[in-house]
Amino acid sequence: MKRFAAEFRASWNLMIEYRIMVAIWILTIVLPLIMLAAWLSIAENGPVGAYDRTSFISYYLAALVVRNMTGMWFIWEMDSELRLGALSFRLLKPMDPIVHYLAYACSSKPLRLLILVPLTIAVFLVVPGLKWALDPLSLVLFVASLAGALMILFLMQYTIGLFGFWITRSLSVNDFWFFTYSLASGYLVPLDLFPPAVHDVLQFLPFRYTMSFPVEILTGRLAWGMSLQGIAIQWVWVVGIYAFNRWVWRRGLRRYSAVGA
């Protein structure tokens, strides 16, 4: 934990002047906003499924919060460290590199929260009739679901990053991953607006638990019993992906031969 704290502080300092962040910020906002605009234009002629115009806004605002609080963008850093051999130095430290990357990934979260809170309040003031479940129990469940979502996303991206031991284009794999995630998680389209057959399949994939599930809690669409069950499922995924990740890590390390290693 102490190690995590030190790594967290170091990354936080770095991140404040980190340029790519601006780009990421814009992209995370723009894509859902475009989808929201499209839905609003359709919803002019009456509600779409269970959504009217204000509930679309509630949904996408919640999705924006979840995306920013759980999103992972460390794979670019990991990719260059793996290829250029900086990983060798990390291996010399008496600490598994996974701790460094987790701290690095979390370090941008406080700043993001700092920007999100006034933004959310502003939207609530401008748009009348927005509804979120803001009672203490829902909030606790929401924060817990964020933690689970963050861990799933972290382990997914870390595992894809480890593919860099075998292939030079793990970033392209990450592109494919984003393609799936953005469609299957509820980030760009609320899952219950998919045709029923697609919707049923998506319930069984881990992606729902990284986005749609926390959003459902925050927008008050989930009873608390279902929320608890969902959090349990999140951690089953975490353990499963972690086990796979460790297996990939051990195999990959054997292959690792960086410059000078």
Binding site: R19, V22, A23, I26, L27, I29, V30, L31, I34, M35, A37, A38, W39, L40, S41, I42, N45, V48, G49, R169, S172, D175, F176, F179, S182, L183, L188, V189, L193, F194, P195
Partner: protein
Amino acid sequence: MKKHLKILAIYYRAALLTQMEYRANFGSSFVLSLVWPLWVFSLLSVLFYHSPSLGGWTFDEAILVIGLYDIFIGLQETILAPNITQVTEHIQKGTLDFVLLKPANGQILATITACNLMRLSDVIIGFGLIGYGLFRMGHVPTLMQVATFAVMIPAGMVTVYSIWLLLTTMAFWFVRVENFGEVFYAFYETGRFPISIYNRWLRLFLTYIVPIAFLTTFPAATLLGKLPLYFVLGSVAIAGILFYASSRFWNYAIRFYSSASS
């Protein structure tokens, strides 16, 4: 003029020869280029699952807009983006001297000589999508519609070039301009869908301030006969004005360039 075309031909031939060495990359780049249209395709399918039309556009018509988006992204990544990275680097490091000292137009040398032919795959896919959309509709554009379309794409390209030039030129004062570029990409994203889905203010903004509508929505609309043909004049006028303004701005800004040694 002739001299400059010759120079450009030499630069592009050199780029082609270097990139031919990595032919396998073109294949994988082609596969990746297919992913994003597929992605927008899925998003559109969900939207149209709930409504037969979106802002007055049918599904088949909207496919044309996706195609145009891919064409412009492809052209931009092929002949604009590589130059932007190059010229901002020159300005940051103070090595723009070597470009400006050459006995040819500095703006041409600095801003359109680099190219990345891998991304032509997006352009090919874009045209393919347009063909597919037209085929699904059974619409055969008239000769006039094709002609206006053929004018609007180069005009749109000049528009994009001019906006990029305006943004890049800021580097003479701000040095770090990459973030401006990202902002432009954000507006670009709005071009994936027909402009009529956005609310009135955004529509005005995307037509007159950052003319994304002239890149994707309007060319698609003219090809379908949804817009009066004189829109082509608008797109040429915008391209002309922006090109003139941005070139003037570049020539003005160059005076503020302080190289590494002087």
